[in-house]
Amino acid sequence: MKKVNLFSIGLLILVLLVFAGCSNEGETAGGSEEESNTLVLAQAADIPSIDPQNSLSTTGDRVHRNMFSRLFMWDNELALQEDLVDTYEQIDDETWEFTLKKATFHDGETVTAEDVKFSLERVMTDETLKEYPYFKQLKEVNVKDEQTVQIITEGPMPTLLNLLAKSGSDILPKAYFEEVGIEGFQEKPIGSGPYQFAEWIRDDRVTLVPFEDYYGDKPKWEKVEVRAIPESSTRVGELLTGGVDIATDIPPNEWERVESESGVDLINGETTRVSLLMVRTTEGYVTSDPKVREAIDLAIDQQAIVDSVLQGTGVPVRTRVPEGVFGTNPDLTNTRVYDVERAKELLAEAGHPDGIDITFTSSRGRYPLDSEVAQLIVSMLSEAGINAELKLLESSAFLDEYNSKSNEELIMIGLADGLLDASYSLVHYTEERAAGQTDYKNGEVEGLFNAAGQNLDEEERTEQYQLIQEIVAEERPHIFLYQNAVNYGVSENITFTPRLDEAIRFDDLTKK
């Protein structure tokens, strides 16, 4: 009896295995009509929240951007375009009026001025929302009539339209949201974008299906799956076997594998993230002397970092406002001032002919190749007689040290710009924000920054920001390294152009 049981169990397993093998074959070799019109995207992390105003992440934005609409959007060329807005005018320095297009939410309701008021007021007032800090300059949102809404800002706000295109300014359906509450909304979120929510299995995938009544161009894909695959070798494995069409964040140790395989391409894109060294200008630190800071800058060969460690991905810069972002200073991109001999002289002039000792903090594993870059910088600095003691910290310990401002002379960090406007980055050089970190103080920078923040004349504002960047590049509270790249592994069947803001609009991708 026992024996029969064992035998039959064994047989059952065998049958299951055979069956399994068959069904799998069907899956991979399938290529049926339905399969071919499905887009699968794999990211390194799950979306943090389905609530677009409480996400604040690239991974979440890639889903939200296709599910929700905002008043404005960045097109492929990163030019600001009207999205839900039909026409708009600026009434006075602080008042803007927007007329909405005729659009519907996924539940069939019309997008009205009330919805805009509700959505913006939610993110303006709820402190627990991650997007809240960005919306503090909005003062009032008033409904003029069903399709017209007025936004009043706290003082002139040249970046209003950028903000209205940023994550967090997504328009939510007021009536539905109030009816079901945040819990219900998270179960079944409703937006007015080209794709609507089908399913979210946490830590697994978000599934979206097209919204036929979308007010813009008809959505292209019959189904889009955004999968979360944290383990990078698994993500690459899925890409190589055709399980996913695009895999984001390919780590450097997998670049060669992806490049060498046929059927997939490794595509590099630029980001707004700039790696830089924050320097203490505080009295009592050796780096309070501008000559020492200049020596450190001159001792570092940014081009060599990009060419060797980063394998050509990344752009050497001398500013935190990269090309493509409003207010950039083109003179400071793709340039360097590397000169070891001059660095040694500067140290001698500053009274340190025998070199200096400093402490340098860097993260390990927070940004691609961060610890390798830090080690290369240490050896470059030593060439000029700067003895840097490297402190490599794991990501969360690093953040604790950075946030508590307990680092010493140098700390290396990568900072991005979510607003695509120089004001976002340059606020670091105001006395208030620099306090305790770089302790940088410059009256001229302060004046220029405050003036630009209220300046509605684009040309003049650009000049003001460019001037700030020149001063900063000269005085070096930050020593800039390079603009970070991001890597995507992309199936050859898909045409994909990476964007500076790392967003992906599903309908910009096409099947070859």
Binding site: E127, T128, K130, P230, T234, G237, T241, S396, D400, H428
Partner: protein, 305 residues
């Protein structure tokens, strides 16, 4: 028996409290969750405002007492990451983990029983040496390494199985082998040594002298009796299953409780870490208790009074 059961059940409460305290302290020491929620260049006042909104500015003991107070009412708090109650988030992951655990137990049993019996019968042969050696290797092999290797071999190079995810029964095979191998290794060794011990006992020798065939001897008399310790080890393996699931689920993007816990620790999502550890601890304790009871049923000589 009843007294024993009540005592064991009462013991669960302090154990769970100690575990939750330890986890609370560890997550608290791991640092500020807000630092991970806002971008690097958020200003100090923005971080402070968010900390206050989430109740993270209170001193440690107040946070802990609030946590315990909620816990007693069955409330684990709200996930920072998903902005929803933590416990349902954990419970909805259980089926996936159970599925994987059951599949790996099946894999482990299918590997261990024949190998264990065979190597006991051919003690000290080359095959026995191979199996015993192999089981040491299987036990020592890290899960993530085996998982990545299996993916490379059977999903990327020879495309028989899907790389990752949960769906059909095919998706289950590679993760189940990954998780089951370590357990199979332990079970094989145990079955082998039990079989050896039993095969040398008087009643087997008697049966053999009576002319009972070798197969009946092994499967009917010896194997059945060697199963008792195997049941124990299966119960004890539940904790191994859980710790293995943390890694296996991460490698295969298997949306179970292990992956949830790893992601929650990465995001310092206190409520979810607590709820997940709590549920896992409870599971391990209950399974161990059940194992004890089954053990008693299988072997009436054991007396708990």
């Amino acid at each position: 028996m009843k007294k024993y059961l009540v005592k064991r059940l009462l013991q669960i409460i302090p154990v769970l409290f100690i575990i939750s305290f330890v986890v609370f302290v560890l997550v608290y020491m791991a640092g500020d969750p807000v630092a991970l929620m806002l971008p690097e260049d958020a200003s100090e006042s923005d971080r402070e405002a968010m900390r206050a909104a989430l109740g993270l500015t209170d001193p440690f003991y107040i946070q802990y007492f609030r946590f315990v107070g909620d816990l007693v009412q069955g409330n684990f708090g709200t996930s920072f990451r998903y902005n929803q109650a933590a416990l349902p988030l954990v419970l909805e992951r259980l089926p996936a983990t159970f599925e994987l655990a059951a599949a790996s137990m099946v894999v482990a049993t299918l590997m261990a029983v024949p190998l264990g019996i065979y190597s006991a019968r051919k003690q000290n042969s080359l095959v026995d040496l191979f199996i015993t050696g192999g089981s040491v290797l299987g036990k020592a092999m890290p899960n993530f390494w085996l998982g990545i290797l299996l993916i490379l071999l059977f999903a990327v190079n020879i495309q028989v199985f899907p790389v990752s995810g949960r769906g059909t029964i095919v998706h289950m095979i590679l993760p189940a082998i990954t998780l089951g191998t370590g357990i199979a290794a332990e079970m094989t060794r145990l079955i082998r040594s039990n079989m050896l011990e039993i095969l040398n006992q008087d009643y087997i020798r008697t049966a053999r002298s009576k002319g009972v065939s070798s197969n009946i001897l092994v499967y009917k008399h010896a194997f059945r009796n060697s199963l008792i310790p195997v049941v124990t080890i299966m119960g004890l393996q539940v904790s191994h299953l859980v710790s293995g699931a943390l890694i296996t689920e991460s490698v295969f993007s298997w949306p179970g409780i292990g992956l949830l816990l790893v992601q929650a620790v990465n995001g310092r999502d206190m409520a979810v870490v607590q709820a997940a550890v709590f549920v896992i601890a409870l599971l391990v304790i209950v399974v161990n208790l059940i194992t004890d009871l089954i053990y008693r049923l299988l072997d009436p000589r054991i007396n708990y009074s």
